[in-house]
Amino acid sequence: MNCNPISRALPRAKLSSSPVNSLQASTICRRHESSYRRTQKRLRVKPDPSFTNTTTHQDHIIFNPPSSAPSVYHTPLKFLPKGDRRRDLYTSASSPSSSSHTTTQQQQQQQSTPTPSARLPPALKSPTEKKYHLTESDIASMRELRAADPRQWTRVRLAQRFECSEFFVSLCCHAPEIKSEREQQLEDIKRRWGRRKTEARQDRQRRKESWGRDE
């Protein structure tokens, strides 16, 4: 289905710089055209270049399979061990010019590293630099605070104070005396849920388990 970007139709909201929003804006589809001519024009799909760029007039085979989920039995290039013969197949497939003539050393060097200028899809979460700024004394003070008043100095507050992640705080110190108290609070909240909410949560948990199996 053809999707025209409708930049004029959308209200002029503040465009954030995140790549995900730009992807979202470009894929909103128009679902209706006002005249038959315009509809036909939208629905006219040009064939893929691999079907039209035929220089040979003899019978030939065009390999253009539809997109599908990749198979896990096809090991990616990076995961192949060093001595595997399929590495050569990968590199020769990525550069089509190499098949017809012998390659020079420079061309071989280019083939072994994929082109860095190829645009990659936008990252879900921009990778953050890990900070290793906490010293032994910092960690000791974190433990003291947690032990002194665990209800006041929660993991969230400690993480904010020491500028680290809550996971790191949980690795450094724990408060077993309020663990049962917190669990009891959670139990009370969960007991107040109705049938629908409980079942929805359970279904969600079961669905999450199936993600790891990737089935």
């Binding site: 979202q24 894929t27 039995y73 990616p76 936008p122 879900l124 790891g212 990737d214």
Partner: protein, 375 residues
């Protein structure tokens, strides 16, 4: 034509020559007869060998049919003298052969498989359930009651329904068995059987389902699954003994290895993104980054996000899901499967070069992997 008549012996008849009764070796009231089960099968085995090995020049003066019937009667007499005349030793041999061929295939063709997946794949190929379904496919059925005159094509056992089967706590071969220690993977490799399950003590009655010779006087009996398992294993053991090593391997390849198994369905990752980042750190790849390849219907009831996990510029795996988290985790799981399911081309197994024929095939060493990801 041969008619077996139990204690009355047997009657043989042919249209050309002979029509006569042959008496049984043991008289009807003999004390030597302990268990008649298996007598019929033993007779047939001896009869078949007698037919094949008879020759006019051998000089006993009997015709082919008579000599074969004598062989059969003598064989049957040995069977009924003992209670232990059964296939359990053949079953032990057969189970070792099956386990050996399956494990060499899996280890050489999928060198990176984790140990738990290896156990599961072994169970899928030659475990009790697989052997039971093969028995059903071959059309081998169970006799209603074991006895002397049961048709030899049926399995004879004192049947237990699965809910009645008693799990005997025998010796498992593990040290410190009285403490309920956690059975980790390493200890399962060392102490447990080929599927990673606890070994049953060979002398406990419930673990021993005799294919032939399980009478009511013996232990509590066995389930159909136990009997089928022992039958198939005994069959493989018999093929090995009587037809040779190469024939046993061919039998295994044609009947067991030809079964389809989806190895990718045996994996279950609890923390796929974490495991993948540990793998990349161990192998010296750039740390994995999840990237959104395409999406549709983000604000609708059923969005689809396709996320790929990239290490630098190389895509390791791809996954689709109804939320960004789901797609990311599925992509990480797919990448890990892509690592673990690596299969070398032209993989050889050690039994390919057995037999000493050195000109035929040269042994190419199998790939040995560094091991699973440890977190």
């Amino acid at each position: 034509m041969v008619i077996r008549a139990g204690k009355d012996g047997c009657y043989i008849a042919s249209n050309t020559e002979v029509k006569q009764w042959l008496p049984a070796v043991h008289p009807p009231s003999s004390k030597k007869v302990v268990d008649p089960t298996g007598g019929g099968n033993g007779f047939l085995g001896g009869f078949a060998v007698g037919l094949v090995r008879w020759s006019r020049e051998a000089g006993h003066g009997f015709g082919r049919l008579e000599e074969a019937a004598i062989w059969g009667s003598v064989a049957a007499s040995f069977c009924i003298e003992q209670v232990d005349f059964n296939n359990s030793s053949l079953a032990i041999l057969g189970s070792e052969i099956l386990g050996y061929h399956t494990s060499e295939y899996l280890l050489c063709h999928y060198p990176r498989l984790p140990m738990t997946v290896l156990f599961a794949a072994q169970y899928a190929y030659v475990g009790p359930k697989a052997l039971r379904s093969m028995t059903l496919e071959w059309g081998v059925e169970v006799a209603a009651e074991p006895g002397g005159e049961v048709d030899p094509g049926l399995l004879q056992l004192k049947r237990l329904r699965p809910e009645e089967a008693v799990i005997q706590a025998g010796k498992t071969g593990r040290p410190n068995q009285q403490w309920a220690y956690r059975r980790g993977t390493s200890s399962r490799i060392v102490y447990d059987d080929q599927f990673g399950d606890l070994k049953k003590d060979a002398t406990t009655a419930s673990g021993n389902a005799m294919v032939v010779g399980s009478s009511t006087a013996q232990g509590p009996g066995a389930t159909d699954e136990e009997a089928s398992k022992n039958f198939v294993r005994a069959l493989v053991g018999a093929v090995y003994l009587h037809a040779g090593r190469a024939a046993a391997k061919r039998f295994f390849e044609q009947h067991f290895l030809s079964r389809q198994l989806e190895l990718s369905k045996l994996f279950d990752f609890k923390h796929a993104p974490r495991d993948l980042s540990r793998l990349c750190a161990r192998e010296g790849f750039e740390s994995p980054v999840a990237r959104l390849i395409s999406e549709t219907g983000r604000l609708s009831r059923h969005p689809v996000f396709v996320v790929g996990v990239y290490s630098g510029n190389d895509k390791l795996g791809e996954g689709a899901g109804a939320s960004l988290d789901e797609a990311r985790i599925r992509a990480a799981a797919a990448a890990l499967k892509g690592w673990y399911l690596y299969s070398p081309i032209d993989a050889m197994v050690p039994s390919d070069v057995e037999g000493g024929d050195k000109e035929k095939k040269k042994w190419e060493p199998a790939m040995i992997d560094i091991g699973e990801i440890i977190t």
